[in-house]
């Protein structure tokens, strides 16, 4: 179990490490640069660093597949490719905010077509359920929600990678305890790739993940949750991400671009971030964390990380208290 997982993780880390400078070069070359607006003097940063995440995840999955011929890794590559292409598209040209979640539904299609899921999710207090017809629709919806939720927390240097690492943590532990070898390996590969990416994305960021990176990470988490039968544990682990996305949509009155919000959720002054107190500002997790406080960007990311770590603990608690006894 461990040997193959660690070989795949090593291949993933090496690929991500090699692809990081390449993706930064490609960003500069293609003009895909994003302004780091939280700095005292905002400057352009390469925003296709997520290509290194995609390369790392793909390399890890392919190496694992080469050793095991596991059936569940082929649809994973399909889902990853779909999300990466949608992300790349948005990194060059903004996608309509209504069209984007619809497109991300397609990322779930390889899972549904390959049938690598069990339509029997375990729900707390209710137990194992049978959703033969409804479950494939929930799979498609789940991919779109998770990808958008992870994408919505990619707002500060290191925030997406750090918070996704904490979301992967309880899923890795559950996969290990349940003896789900492929899912455990995918989690380890993802964790290693995110750590390599963080080396260039942590404050002050040398590169951003871009939509290509955040949507790809969203795909892995959705895939692990669905194929590994950890739906409820994953939802709890992703509560800060889902909260963020949900309150933005609710505050804006539907699927609209955050850039069209009447006012920003936070105020930035000389690198110090504080919550906007105007009622018109959208509710976000960063706004909650900076309410009544003046914090530097790394301090906000640290609090985001701790909040997600707390969610990871709640996720494990949910698994041990309400889910484990119902699993076969």
């Amino acid at each position: 179990m461990f040997q193959t997982a660690f070989v795949a993780a090593a291949a993933a880390a090496a690929s991500a490490f090699v692809m990081l400078p390449v993706s930064m070069w490609l960003s500069r070359r293609s003009g895909a640069m994003g302004l780091d607006v939280h700095k005292p003097n905002p400057y352009p940063v390469p925003k296709l660093g997520g290509l290194a995440i995609v390369a790392g995840l793909a390399a890890g999955a392919v190496v694992y597949w080469a050793f095991t011929s596991s059936d569940i890794l082929v649809p994973f590559i399909g889902s990853l490719a779909v999300a990466a292409l949608i992300g790349l598209w948005e990194d060059f040209r903004e996608i309509n905010p209504v069209l984007k979640p619809v497109l991300l539904v397609v990322a779930g299609v390889p899972v549904v077509v390959a049938g690598v899921y069990s339509p029997n999710p375990v729900i707390p207090f209710v137990g194992s359920t049978r959703l033969t017809i409804l479950y494939p629709l929930l799979v498609l919806l789940g991919f779109s929600i998770v990808c958008n939720a992870v994408n919505s927390l990619d707002v500060l240097n290191g925030s997406m990678a750090a918070t996704s690492l904490t979301a992967i943590l309880p899923l890795t532990i559950i996969a290990y305890l349940e003896g789900k070898t492929e899912i455990f390996s995918l989690c380890i590969v993802t964790a290693v790739v995110l750590l390599v990416f963080l080396s260039k994305n942590i404050y002050p960021a040398k590169t951003f993940a871009g939509n290509v990176g955040s949507l790809s990470v969203g795909v892995v988490i959705a895939y692990v949750a669905i194929v590994g039968r950890m739906e409820v544990a994953a939802i709890v682990a992703l509560l800060p991400h889902i909260m963020n996305e949900f309150h933005i949509i609710y505050s804006l009155g539907g699927l609209r671009s955050g850039k069209k919000a009447p006012t920003r959720p936070t105020i930035i002054n000389s690198g110090i971030i504080t919550a906007n107190v105007e009622r018109k500002a959208p509710v976000t997790v960063v706004r909650l964390l900076t309410a009544g406080e003046k914090l530097t960007e790394p301090a906000v990311v640290w609090r985001l990380f701790l909040l997600c770590l707390y969610s990871a603990i709640l996720s494990l608690l949910t698994y041990f208290l309400f889910i484990r006894r119902w699993l076969p």
Binding site: R130, V232, L239, N269, T274, G292, L307, T318
Partner: protein, 88 residues
């Protein structure tokens, strides 16, 4: 760690409990309809309506709770003092 952050952790705990309560309630009402063991059509319709109502109450309640938490619990004292504008 600041009291503001601890208050956000308390909000997260409440959101978690609400999620567990809402998801299990909705599943309790709707699953019987989905697997055809609800009995008569009237009971199936009633269960579905209750499931949808629980879902809507949960969604609206979740947002209202967070807004309350943001303005009253996290910003409340600061707004009253007129110093939460945060101009750095």
């Amino acid at each position: 760690m600041s009291s503001g952050f601890l208050k956000v952790l308390i909000l997260m705990t409440v959101v978690w409990l609400l999620f567990l309560a809402a998801s299990s309630s909705i599943a309790y009402f709707v699953l019987a309809v989905l697997d055809g063991s609800a009995g008569s059509v009237a009971v199936s319709v009633a269960r579905t309506v209750v499931g949808v109502v629980v879902f809507l109450v949960w969604i609206v309640g979740w947002h209202r709770l967070t807004v309350f938490w943001l303005y009253r619990v996290l910003l409340g004292e600061k707004v009253n003092e007129g110093s939460a504008g945060g101009d750095g």
